[in-house]
């Protein structure tokens, strides 16, 4: 599959876990990039677009909420789809994300298979 994925999480452990799930879902290694926070993610997307962003919310520098707010201001990033992978469980804060166009959500702690299934679902509905 030729989908471009951007994994955004401040934890290198979670980025490695997510990378493994994305590979298992069929992505090519060369199509997977990583960022440590929202600011790095925006810079990475402006350099080269991704099809899907796997986004943590709780990050330093620029958190996931701020990233989504900035993303929707930029028409060049409109086609980039976002899936949350986060410890956040508050329905009000998640509803705010949904209202801003975030379609998918997986709460940590997750089983590796759940993340692989989320990615496969995103690929399938692309």
């Amino acid at each position: 599959m030729n989908y471009r994925i951007l994994i955004v999480d401040d934890s290198p452990l979670l980025r490695a876990t997510a990378r493994r799930a994305v590979l298992q879902a069929g992505a090519a290694p060369s199509q997977i990039r990583e960022a440590c926070n929202g600011q790095e993610a925006l810079a990475a997307l402006r350099e080269e677009l991704a099809d899907i962003v796997l986004l943590d919310l709780n990050m330093p520098v620029m958190d996931g909420f701020q990233f989504v707010e900035e993303k929707i201001k930029d028409p060049n990033l409109a086609a980039v789809r976002v899936a949350l992978v986060t410890t956040e469980g508050n329905q009000k804060r998640l509803a705010r994300m949904t209202a801003m166009g975030v379609e998918h959500y997986l709460r940590k702690p997750f089983e590796p298979e759940e993340l692989r299934a989320l990615v496969a679902d995103l690929f399938g509905s692309q």
Binding site: L13, N58, Q91, K108, P109, P112
Partner: protein
């Protein structure tokens, strides 16, 4: 809303580890001091609300290897604890903190999780003593190592 005890803290931590890393833990007989004598990395995370709480995580090298390898899909001996120790306990603090927020806060509550930060041995020792007098703690073990999680008011 749940009142946190040593028992349900242990269950919450064990369940999260099982889901994320296929790590199955048992309650340990060790004391906190014994865990700290071997532990390689410690982390803290704040649960901000009214009231606020703190969660600390301390793990021995073997436990770090078991959790990190379970999450990354490799063998425990492939994990370099010096490279992955801090990130592993920080992420565990984040995950356990998120689980505790779900248990402690109603959906109308503004409780939020902070960012994990590393603790040194002395800071961890102070937190452990505080949890012993006015908080809760749990010590879990696997074949490879031990984990201590403390929960206390901030």
């Amino acid at each position: 809303m749940l009142t946190i005890s040593s028992d349900n803290l242990g269950e919450l931590v064990g369940s999260a580890l099982q889901r994320m890393a296929f790590v199955f833990c048992d309650p340990a007989d060790s004391t906190g001091g014994e865990v700290l004598a071997v532990a390689k990395s410690h982390a803290w995370i704040e649960l901000r609300g009214n009231p606020s709480y703190v969660v600390t995580v301390s793990a021995t090298p073997g436990f770090i290897q078991e959790v990190a390898s379970g999450m990354m899909g490799c063998e425990p001996e492939d994990i370099d604890v010096d490279e992955h120790g801090r990130a592993t306990v920080a992420e565990l603090a984040n995950i356990f903190g998120g689980e505790l927020v779900m248990q402690l806060a109603s959906q109308d509550d503004g409780m939020m999780i902070g960012l994990p930060r590393e603790l040194d041995d002395e800071e961890m020792s102070i937190c452990m003593e505080a949890a012993a007098t006015a908080g809760q703690s749990t010590i879990l073990e696997t074949e490879l190592g031990q984990l201590m999680v403390c929960f206390l008011s901030n």
